[in-house]
C-alpha cells in the first residue's frame, strides 16, 4: 500500500494542503465596509444603547458574545478574527496582548469624550496598557466573597464575612464544606488573594511566595467542593453552594437570579477587608480590524455619561465615567460593593503580567491544588 503510486499522490496532496492551511491562519468573517463587528462578554451591554447607536450613526452593528477571556485570547492569536472591538480583562490578558501587538493604538483625535474617563482608573490601567494607548475602560469591579446569607447564618452566625479568613482559614472554611464552597478556577485571581491573606505582596513572582500560597491553598483544598470559573454563579443562585470566591459582577448576578427565583435566602457580595484585586474590562481595537473608524465612533458613544449610566444600570457594575454618577440608579450608585468608598479603594491591588516561566509554574501549582496531584 505505501509504495504504490496512488498513495504517493495522496501524501503529496496532504502535504500541500497542510502547508497551505498552516500559512494562512484565521477565518475571514469580517463585515468590512460600513458595519461594526463587536465581540463582547455575554450580558455585558444594554441592547437599547446599541440600537441608539445604530439610529444615531446609521452604522449596523454585528454583535457576538463569548464567556471567557481564554476564548477571546485564542481567537485573537489565531489572527484575522474579523472583529473591530473586543473587551478583554486587564489582568493578565490585556497585559500580555498589548506587547504581542494584537491591538492598534487609539486615535484620540476621534474621541472627543475621552476626557470623561476617571483618572484613577486610567492610572491603574496604564500598568497594563503603557501610556493608555490602546484601551478604553468599560466596566470595573473587585474580586471577593459571595455567600448564602441563610446557610452561613445557620452554620456560623459570627462568621467573618468581610475577611479572607472565610476562605483561607482552614478552621473557618471547614465549617462550610457541607453546604458547598466553590472557588474561581483561576490562578491569576486566587493566588494573589492567597498571598494577600498571608501578608505577602500579591503581585510577587517569586517561587517561595508561590510555594507559600500553594501551601495555604492545599490546606483549604479538602473543603472546597469545586474549582470552576462560571459554575459558581449557578451554584450560588441555586443554593448548591453557600460560599464562593469570584468576581463582584458574577456574584451580583447570582444575587439577582436568586431574588428573581424567589429563593428563601439572599446572596451577598463582600469585599475582603484585607484588600481586593480590581479587575478592569476595556474596549480595544484589534490590529487587523476592518472598520476602525466605526470602532472609534462607538467608543466615543459609550464614553457619553448618559450612555455609561444606562449601561451601568443595566449590568449593575461600576463604569469609568464619573460624570455618569448622577444618572445611575441609587441601588447601584450607593452600593458600597459596586462603588466602594475611598478607604476600600486604597486597598485595591493589581497584578502585572507574568513571564512564561512563572506562568507555567503557577499553572502547575494550581493544577496541584485543584487536582491534588
Amino acid at each position: 500500500m505505501w509504495g504504490s503510486r496512488q498513495s504517493r499522490v495522496w501524501l503529496t496532496l496532504t502535504a500541500i494542503l497542510a502547508l497551505v492551511a498552516a500559512s494562512s491562519a484565521g477565518d475571514v468573517r469580517a463585515q468590512g465596509g460600513g458595519g461594526l463587528n463587536v465581540y463582547n462578554w455575554n450580558d455585558y451591554i444594554d441592547e437599547a444603547t446599541l440600537h441608539r447607536f445604530e439610529t444615531e450613526t446609521g452604522i449596523r452593528v454585528r454583535y457576538d458574545v463569548y464567556d471567557s477571556n481564554e476564548t477571546l485570547d485564542a481567537k485573537l492569536r489565531a489572527g484575522r478574527s474579523g472583529y473591530d472591538l473586543v473587551v478583554p480583562t486587564a489582568s493578565p490578558f490585556l497585559a500580555l496582548q498589548v506587547p504581542a501587538k494584537l491591538y492598534q493604538p487609539l486615535d484620540r483625535g476621534k474621541l472627543k469624550n475621552y476626557g470623561n474617563l476617571d483618572p484613577e482608573i486610567m492610572r491603574r490601567l496604564a500598568a497594563y496598557d503603557p501610556g493608555n494607548q490602546h484601551a478604553v475602560p468599560w466596566m470595573w469591579g473587585t474580586t471577593g466573597l459571595g455567600y448564602n446569607s441563610a446557610a452561613i447564618q445557620k452554620v456560623m452566625p459570627d462568621a467573618p464575612v468581610h475577611s479572607l479568613r472565610m476562605l483561607f482559614d482552614p478552621a473557618v472554611v471547614a465549617k462550610f464544606q457541607r453546604c458547598g464552597v466553590v472557588v474561581l478556577d483561576s490562578p491569576t485571581d486566587v493566588v494573589p488573594a492567597a498571598l494577600n491573606f498571608l501578608g505577602r505582596d500579591p503581585d510577587s513572582h517569586k517561587k517561595e511566595d508561590l510555594d507559600a500560597a500553594t501551601d495555604a491553598l492545599m490546606k483549604i483544598r479538602p473543603f472546597v467542593r469545586k474549582w470552576h470559573s462560571s459554575e459558581y454563579i449557578n451554584d450560588l443562585a441555586n443554593g448548591d453552594a453557600c460560599l464562593a470566591f469570584g468576581f463582584s459582577g458574577d456574584i451580583k448576578q447570582a444575587a439577582k437570579r436568586a431574588a428573581e427565583a424567589h429563593k428563601d435566602f439572599r446572596v451577598i457580595y463582600s469585599i475582603p477587608e484585607e484588600g481586593s484585586q480590581i479587575w478592569i474590562d476595556s474596549w480595544v481595537i484589534p490590529a487587523d480590524a476592518p472598520n476602525p473608524a466605526a470602532a472609534h465612533r462607538f467608543l466615543d458613544f459609550v464614553l457619553r455619561p448618559d450612555v455609561a449610566a444606562l449601561n451601568s444600570n443595566f449590568i449593575g457594575y461600576a463604569n469609568a465615567v464619573p460624570a455618569s454618577r448622577p444618572m445611575i440608579d441609587p441601588a447601584v450608585r450607593d452600593d458600597p460593593t459596586i462603588y466602594p468608598p475611598d478607604e476600600v479603594r486604597r486597598r485595591f491591588y493589581t497584578i502585572s503580567a507574568p513571564d512564561r516561566t512563572y506562568e507555567r509554574l503557577r499553572t502547575r501549582a494550581w493544577t496541584r491544588v485543584a487536582t491534588g496531584h
Binding site: 497542510a18 485564542a74 501587538k101 474549582w227 487536582t371
Partner: protein
C-alpha cells in the same frame, strides 16, 4: 467514463480519500508541526514550523518530565475503559432486545436509540447537571419521598463522569451490536439447541462469538473518544481526577502554550491509534498465513 472504467472508480474512491486527506491527515500534520516548535507571544503564538532551525523536541520532553500527564492519561484510560464496559453491559441487552422485537417495532426502537442525537450534546450534559445537582431533581425527589434527608453527592465526582459518558455514548455501542446480531442466522441458534445446547449456553457459545465484530466496533467507538473527553468531566466531574482532555485545555488556554498542547494531542493520538495499527498489521499477517 463508463460505470466500470478506471477513471470512474478513481473519482468515486477519491472523494472520501480527499475528505480524509483534507480534514484528518492535514490537520494532524499541522498539529504535529506545531508541537515541534517553541511557544511565543504573537500571532500565532508559536514559532514558524516551516523553518528547520525552529524545530525542537522540548515539548515532548515536558510531557515525560512531569508525571501529571501520565497520571491524567492513566485516569482517562481507566475511566474510558470502565465506561466502555458499562456501555457494553447496558448496550448489548438493548441491541439484543431490539433484534428480538417484532419487525414492525424495530425501526421505531432504533429511532428511539438515535433520537437523543437530534439534540445538542452540550444541552444533554447540562440536563444531567440539572438532574444530579444537590438541589437537582433527583435529590429533590428522594428528599421529598423521605428516602434521604441530606442531598446525595451525585455530581462533581467520578460517578457523574461515568454516567455522562455512558449516557452520551450508548448509541455508539448499541448500533454496531444490533447490526452484527441482525446478520446472525437464526438457524445457527436452532442448530445449537438441536445439538443439545441450552439457550443460555447457546448465547455464549454461538451468539456472542458471532457478534464479536459488532462488540469490538462498539467498544472502539466508545473508548477512543471517551479517552479524550473534555466537556463531560468539566461539567460533571470533580477536581480529583484530572483527565487528559482537561490537561490539553489547560496547556492551550491557561498556559497559552499551543506547542505543548499540540504535543499532548499528538501523544494522545499515538497512544490510542498506535495499538490499533499494530493490531491490524498483526491481524493481516495472521490472515495471510
Amino acid at each position: 467514463m463508463t460505470a466500470g472504467s478506471r477513471g470512474f472508480r478513481f473519482s468515486v474512491i477519491s472523494a472520501p480519500m480527499l475528505w480524509l486527506a483534507a480534514f484528518f491527515l492535514s490537520p494532524f500534520v499541522i498539529v504535529f508541526a506545531i508541537s515541534l516548535v517553541a511557544a511565543s507571544d504573537g500571532q500565532p503564538p508559536f514559532a514558524s514550523p516551516l523553518l528547520m532551525s525552529n524545530l525542537t523536541f522540548d515539548n515532548y520532553r515536558l510531557l515525560v518530565g512531569d508525571d501529571l500527564y501520565a497520571f491524567a492519561f492513566g485516569n482517562s484510560v481507566r475511566i474510558a475503559a470502565t465506561s466502555t464496559v458499562l456501555c457494553l453491559l447496558l448496550g448489548y441487552p438493548m441491541a439484543y432486545a431490539i433484534v428480538r422485537a417484532p419487525q414492525a417495532m424495530r425501526n421505531g426502537l432504533l429511532l428511539l436509540v438515535v433520537l437523543p442525537f437530534w439534540t445538542s450534546f452540550l444541552i444533554r450534559v447540562y440536563a444531567w447537571m440539572i438532574l444530579l445537582r444537590p438541589s437537582g431533581l433527583i435529590n429533590l425527589a428522594l428528599q421529598g419521598l423521605g428516602v434521604i434527608d441530606q442531598p446525595l453527592p451525585l455530581i462533581a465526582n467520578q460517578f457523574a463522569v461515568h454516567l455522562g459518558i455512558v449516557y452520551s455514548y450508548l448509541p455508539f455501542m448499541v448500533l454496531p451490536i444490533y447490526a452484527a446480531l441482525e446478520r446472525l442466522d437464526p438457524a445457527l441458534l436452532e442448530a445449537a439447541f438441536d445439538l443439545g445446547c441450552r439457550p443460555w449456553r447457546a448465547f455464549w457459545r454461538v451468539t456472542v462469538p458471532l457478534s464479536a465484530p459488532g462488540i469490538i466496533a462498539g467498544c472502539l467507538l466508545v473508548f477512543i473518544p471517551a479517552v479524550g473527553e473534555f466537556v463531560i468531566p468539566d461539567l460533571l466531574g470533580g477536581p480529583d481526577t484530572p483527565m487528559i482532555g482537561r490537561v490539553l485545555w489547560t496547556e492551550f488556554f491557561s498556559n497559552r502554550d499551543w506547542p505543548a498542547a499540540a504535543a499532548v494531542a499528538t501523544a494522545l493520538l499515538v497512544a490510542l491509534v498506535g495499538p490499533i495499527v499494530v493490531f491490524q498489521i498483526l491481524e493481516r499477517r495472521g490472515a495471510e498465513s
